[in-house]
Symmetry: C2
Subunit: 154 residues, 2 copies
């Protein structure tokens, strides 16, 4: 007897959350992301998320605030409805990735400063130079690559 689609989806959500937990995103935040990516309908209230993800209202609130803040989730309020609706903002994933790239490229300013401190001492700066060259190349290429990213469909 095969397991249902919803069961497999919740297992998938858990894997999804586990991956981002390794990147420092709280488990519940990752679950929210995964859930909002596949739920039907697309919008959920905090209370619904709390129930379906079996997480306390406090955790949901904290993590929604964080996710809205980084743009991955958007909050919509409607007159006549006191409950706000949350949904995935899939467009924001590009910014999410870009921040990762920026973090990598930013090391170059660090190695660059180091090189400057060692200027006039080529012997000693050899090790740093290798690293600086790599990051220098990355901080050229990553933005260039990023320019070529495909436009999000419609």
């Amino acid at each position: 007897m095969s397991v249902g689609r919803e069961t497999r989806l919740s297992a998938w959500i858990e894997r999804f959350a586990a991956h981002f937990a390794e990147e420092g995103i709280p488990l519940i935040g990752g679950r929210i992301l995964g859930y909002l990516l596949v739920c039907q309908p697309v919008e959920r209230t905090a209370a619904e998320l709390s129930q379906e993800l079996e997480a306390s209202s406090g955790s949901i609130s904290t993590n929604l605030k964080y996710l809205v803040n980084v743009g991955l989730v958007s909050k919509r309020t409607r007159r006549g409805r006191q409950a706000a609706e949350y949904r995935i903002n899939e467009k924001a994933w590009t910014d999410f990735i870009q921040r990762k790239f920026d973090a990598i490229a930013s090391v170059q300013t660090l190695t660059d400063d180091g090189m400057r401190l060692l200027s006039g001492d080529p012997e000693r700066s050899m090790r740093l130079r290798t690293v600086d060259n790599l990051y220098g190349w990355l901080s050229e290429e990553l933005p260039a690559l990023w320019e070529r990213r495909p436009a999000a469909p419609k």
Copy 2:
């Protein structure tokens, strides 16, 4: 009155360590990396690192083990010398970056599995598709970019 080069270097090491602390590398590990990148001579024993970075022998040992393990530092033992010598393995920085790229690209298998679970439900898979497309593109382009990386000098 200007501060000495060594003073500025230790400030630089601290900045360096702080950056990688944000990426999840323990502070002391980051200090070791920064220090080994600029110290003269290039090799240090654990005891020396402990003294110069003002960290306990235990912390130094733990972090060296970790850094050697990921390849960023190499350990050399010599007959007639009981103290092992540690030095930066600047070549390994490329692997270090590559692991980051791999981590990004690996999300694609995740989103791909999700898409499969939602197959036959185009309406519902729209959100995931956007994300999947982005990661699909990345997992094509990042390895391609990586191929073009400059060779380390000599």
